[in-house]
């Protein structure tokens, strides 16, 4: 690895901790970010000559603080320096240089940083954009590409999010136990949003959005290192690892969707599966079930089955049942119906999903699943109607072409039947 690549990797790894500490110090996102950027520029000059520091994060925090304070002093002639209370903690400025940020500060800095990004007043798209910019350090063009919008639009989205955060005022005291649990929940949800942004991409967009999945897993691991005994964080990390493990098998060479039952399990990432299984195994021991753990347990059952025919549908049905109780949603019932179809046939599954039509009337997967169930019962005409609805609701070309494949098959079958009866 070249010097520059090494430095870039070290800076990426140190970023959340350094920005978090600088934010606690300056209490302003823009100042913290600028201080960090300046520290990185100095690192690029100093590290190749002097060798890497013992603790990259501490080095960046110290240099970032000093540079920003110098800048503030220099600007004093034009504008008055904020008073000590506003810059905060001036007393520990020197101590902090030697300070190997103790565990609780380190945890709270990073948690606060993540929490700021998923501020409840920000819409989810802004939460994700802000987290990718501030915590992950992705550039605006990188984020813009992942969200398929222009650089200018993304710049505006991030600026707006920052302004809203600044206006809302950020609590800088260490969070109490209840608040910490709330923050953790919000942060976990935001990380899963980042993951899903990447995971739901398909076809041409899959390549540019795939890094979002890796970034989400990286953030979840960071959170898990800070809170090693939170079963839901273990569950979330396991869930994402187990889903991401299947990524190489989800699309064929032409970018078409490959269903779980047709996927080449040899392409699944065994290392990610091993880690996901170890984490969900560990989480379950705590006997504090949560939605991420249940979803991860379902993903684990798929990962454990050597072949599709070996899938433990009974267990999956039970797990979806507990998920329905914990977090009732028609989408969960729809997923459960797939397991029910395997266990008790398409009729039972159709009876389950038909009452959902009013609420899932604009959901692609509802009509895709309904069509497939009707097809299994030999109700071709009704299946065709459902598949037509699904195509109209498809969000990606891959989704649409997958349904079209079903329709083509229906057409061939009815032609064959027509020839047979003629």
């Amino acid at each position: 690895m070249t010097d520059l690549a090494w430095i870039e990797t070290a800076i990426t790894a140190a970023r959340p901790q350094a920005i978090g500490a600088l934010l606690r110090y300056f209490r302003d996102l823009d100042t913290a970010e600028e201080a960090f950027q300046n520290a990185c520029l100095r690192a690029l000059k100093s590290w190749p000559q002097n060798g890497p520091p013992r603790d990259a994060a501490a080095w960046l925090i110290m240099v970032g603080r000093n540079v920003a304070i110098d800048d503030l002093r220099r600007g004093k002639k034009q504008q008055p320096l904020p008073d000590d209370a506003a810059i905060s903690d001036l007393d520990d400025a020197e101590d902090a240089i030697a300070e190997r940020l103790d565990g609780s500060h380190y945890r709270d800095d990073i948690l606060r940083l993540l929490f700021i990004c998923c501020h409840p007043e920000l819409p989810p798209t802004q939460q994700i954009a802000l987290a990718l910019r501030i915590v992950s350090g992705l550039t605006v063009p990188q984020i813009a590409r992942a969200f398929l919008v222009s650089d200018a639009a993304m710049e505006q989205r991030i600026t707006r999010a920052k302004a809203k955060v600044a206006r809302a005022g950020v609590p800088f005291e260490s969070p109490g136990a209840v608040e910490r649990a709330e923050r953790l929940g919000a942060v976990a949800a935001m990380i899963y949003l980042v993951f899903n942004e990447g995971y739901s991409a398909a076809g041409e967009t899959a390549g540019v959005r795939a890094p979002l999945c890796e970034e989400a897993i990286r953030l979840a691991r960071l959170l898990l290192r800070l809170f090693p005994s939170e079963p839901e964080i273990m569950g979330l990390t396991a869930l994402m690892l187990l889903q991401q493990a299947r990524a190489p098998a989800r699309f064929d060479a032409g970018g078409e969707i490959v269903l779980l039952e047709d996927q080449n399990r040899g392409l699944w990432n065994a290392t990610m599966i091993a880690e996901g299984l170890a984490l969900i195994d560990k989480a379950m021991r705590h006997r504090r079930t949560g939605a991420y753990q249940i979803q991860a347990a379902i993903a684990a059952l798929h990962a454990r089955a050597p072949r599709y025919e070996d899938t433990d549908w009974a267990q999956i049905d039970l797990l979806y049942g507990s998920l329905e109780i914990l977090q009732p949603s028609p989408v969960i019932t729809l997923n459960r119906a797939v397991a029910v179809a395997k266990l008790r046939g398409p009729e039972a599954a159709l009876a389950m999903i038909e009452p959902l039509e009013a609420r899932l009337g604009s959901y692609f997967h509802y009509f895709g699943a309904k069509g497939a169930l009707l097809l299994q019962q030999g109700r071709g005409d009704e299946a065709r109607v459902a598949f037509d609805r699904a195509i109209a609701l498809a969000r990606t070309p891959a989704e649409a072409s997958h349904i079209r494949m079903h329709l083509d098959r229906l057409m061939q079958e009815s032609e064959a039947a027509g020839r047979a009866s003629a």
Binding site: T9, A13, R218, A274, A278, R285
Partner: protein, 123 residues
């Protein structure tokens, strides 16, 4: 004489590698492994899963306490290691408890292995 080579690195740093960077490092390592194996000098090779997957059994209380996360007490040193096959974490904890009864004090960190290459060398 046999030597155990224990791999220490900054997990933050290794964790920020992309899949391609990781694969490139592994590829280079494979070349080194290959040379050693050819010369009959390679024993077992194991890469542990991240510390987030670690569980620690503290032996200094009765019954031993199980905690999440890696063993991070710096005044104690890594003095050896086992590779055992178990059904799940509970199975591994049972083994650790048995070992702990035979050898009390200190702690065992239980870390799932991500890659394991059994070698041929005997001590």
């Amino acid at each position: 004489m046999l030597y155990a080579i224990l791999c220490y690195h900054d997990e933050n740093f290794v964790g920020s590698w992309s899949r391609e960077e990781d694969a490139a490092v592994m590829e280079k390592l494979k070349a080194v492994h290959g040379k050693l194996a050819e010369a009959g000098r390679l024993g077992s090779v194991a890469r542990l899963l991240p510390t987030t997957a670690a569980t620690t059994l503290r032996k200094d209380s009765e019954p031993p306490v199980v905690i999440d996360g890696p063993f991070a007490e710096t005044k104690e040193q890594l003095l050896g290691f086992y590779v055992v096959e178990c059904e799940d974490l509970d199975g591994a904890l049972d083994v650790a408890r048995d070992l702990g009864r035979a050898n009390p004090g200190g702690a065992y960190e239980i870390r799932p292995i991500g890659l394991f290459m059994p070698g041929t060398m005997q001590p």
